[in-house]
Symmetry: C2
Subunit: 236 residues, 2 copies
């Protein structure tokens, strides 16, 4: 079923894509994937992204100890819409698949939040794992931007850093059902930890212009609410 001139399913992640005409040596993981999984041969084409908006067509030139390819063409794009998700810790390991799903849906920034009722554990290698999941999901969805995984922030600090032009959303069972579209170029959503935000924290969000949005007629877990918001945003 394989087309001989196109390692079609391949979608590589090369953070350092060269300009058209440049020869790039593939990182070992990507080279292995291309040759062993996609069964590429010299002369085949493959697609690659740098995760920062560029997508290139490569032609494989060398297969050996190192896999090399030449950049045939390259196209760069800007994000037209951006979404950031701020989230308190859900229960257990549920954040792992949340990171995967948010990345698939095209969220720009994953921002874990330390909250009164839930703090993210430190030094458990989560950041590294999340970055790997975000890259894998970007490839799966054939996106040109990799989701940025930020280190956890105190809620108060995060609030100091909301870009002024952002539309702001607070996941809340008491919010508005089916509000108008997210609007604007950047949307920021805040989702509480498993135990929810405190009333004081909710007050901070309201003072900063976060609009409460109700995403379901039932009570949602943190990770479900975060995903439901991202799906609502992505469907627009």
């Amino acid at each position: 079923m394989r087309s001989p001139a196109d390692a079609a399913p391949s979608y590589l992640y090369l953070p350092e894509l060269g300009a058209p005409g440049a020869t790039v040596a593939l990182p070992p993981g990507e080279g292995h994937y291309l040759v062993r999984v996609c069964r590429a041969r010299a002369g085949d084409r493959a697609t690659a992204t740098d995760g920062r908006g560029a997508v290139a067509v490569l032609r494989v030139t060398t297969i050996g100890k190192s896999v090399e390819a030449v950049v045939e063409s390259l196209e760069r794009a800007e994000r037209s819409r951006r979404a950031w998700v701020w989230c308190g810790p859900p229960e257990g390991e549920r954040a792992d698949w949340l990171v995967e799903k948010l990345s698939e849906l095209g969220v720009e920034v994953w921002q874990p939040l330390h909250c009164e009722r839930g703090r993210w554990a430190r030094g458990d290698g989560r950041g590294v794992r999340w970055r790997r999941l975000a890259v894998a999901a970007m490839r799966q969805a054939r996106r040109r931007f990799v989701m940025e995984v930020r280190p956890p922030l105190e809620l108060g600090e995060a609030l100091e850093q909301v870009p002024p032009q952002a539309s702001r959303w607070l996941a809340s069972a008491e919010g508005t059902r089916a509000p108008a579209a997210a609007g604007g170029e950047l949307a920021v959503a805040a989702v509480g930890p498993a135990g929810g935000f405190t009333r004081v924290e909710e007050g901070w969000f309201r003072e900063r212009g976060f609009a409460p949005i109700c995403l379901s007629d039932g009570r949602l877990r943190s990770e479900t609410a975060a995903l439901a918001w991202a799906a609502w945003w992505a469907s627009q």
Copy 2:
């Protein structure tokens, strides 16, 4: 922090709720949960659903070998909106958390579909596990309806059974972005297996009036598309 007269976090699943005034013996699992986890005592109140629209306030009367309660009041409701999700098999065990999430979002029916490019495995106890997950998620979300888990159907058979009044949606990267609301009292969504529906299958859906809907600007995995559709529906 516990209020002495109300085992507040309790939300029990009692498929056979009696009429007001009746005494019910709790199934062992629910009795254990109420007494050991919620620390209920005789005289305390608890909330229970039958998963078919009724929610009752119970008063605990006996704690011993068996836990008994009297139904103080009972309120029954109909579903005002209903959603069915038809889904070909995603990769690995991803259907498990999908079942949990669809249940949290209030989907009425989970219908696994056998498709040309993916068939559900037989006899692996999935149905039993899914029903357990659906009940747990209903309790978590404090809903009054439990999601119905149906056995897998051939796509052709499923198509014979679409209720005529249902609005119909086909998750497709080539569909319409942000269509009007799902509309109607019942909405049915079809999502392909990991390898996607074939062109022939897509044709069958179109003949039956399924409207292609694009849920993201990237390629979504089966379980992500199913969830994104349900979140879109739930947000309305």
